[in-house]
Symmetry: C2
Subunit: 328 residues, 2 copies
């Protein structure tokens, strides 16, 4: 099956996505001109909107008919954007999605505080709309888990010996939980059938992991311009990710020692990048990562089989394929 682009997959929910943009805009408009400007810089356009898309599709695939799907979709996107804004400050990333990051435009203070502000907006929106309890609980657990994962990952920076298992656990907290919560909350809007809800959860967990592995891989192989940020960023920051952890496990002792030197920034940058690239090629790391990600995608798709056929179900299947085929 040829893989569709995200916009092709989502064509049949174009109205929902337009409504999402409107809800996002309305819920982040601010009477203070500067706050508004800074917030729109990060919330307005440019993102994939993956989490809201997952939520809307999961809702529809599970029989959603009515209810406030757009508030929850907005909320998951805002939580994601807030965490990106803080990540960019901490990573000192100059660009994201090809635009200046907030902190490089207006400084760290503004960026940290805009992230806080978005979290506060989430709280306000949840309170104002009285979103039903299970969704609230899921969201707050996901947000908390995301923060825990971030703290642990920040603490682990510079640790060359992190195990694959530990790494997957951390990124499961950092990235996976919000993706899983998006799917599960969508399902809850559509059904009360616990079996169906568990299907959505399983789907979310699997594509969350696949998504992260591809994200890690893109840092090494993607066109920097397309990605909207400099490649080899993770390694430069002292973070081993899935591809480098795998390679560290399979390479020779001598190569491992050199990789550690690169990791400790004891080699000049250009030769380090060249060396790592050849190491990854030697161990076919890209192919390995794609294979592992594809395994997760297959698990995600097979979880969906119990759902009745629907455009949303097919879109979720396509979305799973998209996750491994995307190049940004």
């Amino acid at each position: 099956m040829s893989t569709s682009s995200l916009s092709e997959i989502c064509q049949f929910i174009a109205d929902d996505l337009a409504a999402l943009e409107k809800t996002l805009r309305e819920n982040t408009a601010n009477e203070y001109e500067f706050v508004d400007l800074a917030v729109q810089h990060v919330v307005g356009g440019g993102g994939k909107r993956l989490r809201p898309i997952l939520l809307i599709l999961s809702a529809k695939a599970c029989g959603y008919q009515k209810g406030d799907v757009h508030t929850l979709a907005t909320v998951v996107e805002l939580i994601h954007v807030a965490s990106m804004v803080h990540d960019d400050v901490l990573d000192e990333a100059p660009i994201r999605r090809g635009s200046d990051t907030l902190h490089s435009k207006w400084g760290n203070k503004v960026a940290v505080l805009v992230g806080d502000y978005l979290h506060a907006r989430v709280l306000s929106m949840l309170v104002a709309r009285q979103v039903d309890d299970p969704a609230m609980r899921m969201l707050s657990e996901a947000t908390q888990s995301m923060c825990e994962g971030e703290v642990i990952h920040a603490y682990k920076i510079g640790d060359f010996d992190i195990s694959q298992e530990e790494y997957l656990k951390i990124v499961g907290m950092k990235t996976g939980k919000l993706i899983t919560a998006s799917c599960t909350m969508g399902a809850i809007l559509g059904t009360r059938d616990e079996k169906i809800i568990q299907v959505s959860k399983k789907y979310g967990e699997s594509i969350g992991t696949a998504f992260q592995i591809i994200d890690d891989l893109l840092d090494f192989v993607a066109d920097g311009e397309k990605l909207g940020k400099r490649p080899f960023n993770d390694l430069r920051e002292g973070k081993l990710t899935y591809p480098t952890i795998y390679t560290r496990q399979v390479c020779t002792d001598e190569e491992r020692a050199t990789l550690k030197q690169v990791f400790n920034a004891e080699m000049d940058e250009d030769s380090a990048i060249e060396w790592v690239q050849s190491l990854l090629n030697r161990y076919r790391t890209q192919e390995h990562c794609l294979q592992i990600a594809q395994d997760y995608v297959n698990r995600a798709k097979s979880a969906l089989t119990v759902l009745p056929d629907s455009p949303a179900k097919r879109a979720l299947e396509q979305l799973a394929d998209y996750v491994v085929s995307r190049d940004w």
Copy 2:
């Protein structure tokens, strides 16, 4: 009336304060050892616990008998601590309350993320305990306003011409709203009488402003060691605060020009501090600020007169006096 210390004022609610510490500890304990360590570093002991104290006293003064006052008290303190942690990162403050700040101990990443984590905990606690709606709404509004005020203040850094009115509006958002919300939520736990709730709100707004003016003043006059941070910090960061805004308004054009040079860091630090100190002395700025703060305290106390006599009401009166007399 001689002014009592905070612990004297709060002696009759010692049990509540012990319960608060327990609730704080329980609600921030984390299974991940490092997260726990970092969180306890900022949550455990050392703070004045002003906001929870205001909440507990307001509840009791307004007839509170039962209900979960400690959850809300914990929540307001956590929101406050989270914002302090981020402030310290942004201000590059090496110490607070005499201890190393989180970011100077474990780096900016950990500090920003621990702040986020505390916000996430607040969301989880509110969801889990199903705190009643008016309190939730008040808290979320206060948190949002706090963040807006912070963003605006960060944006205004380096603005020598900020007006007194604008400054008071910004700090009202940054500091005042959470203090006011603490008092008002306390009142709501005790009564449904809208008039009484408004009394608590008025009290909170007034002591919030007094508290901020004294905070600003302490930066210029307090014993750095007692304060637990370096004095003249605000000015060094490019922030005019109440005392310097007042002095800027009343001094001569020539002095104003020199003050601007100091503000723009065009003078060496030691002579700048000496010069500002003599300027503040010349215009009796300390006395003026104390007088303005006292006016707010008087407004706060006179708001309380309609409440029936009680130990809590008397404690709130003493607390108002404490706010202007404290030296840290």
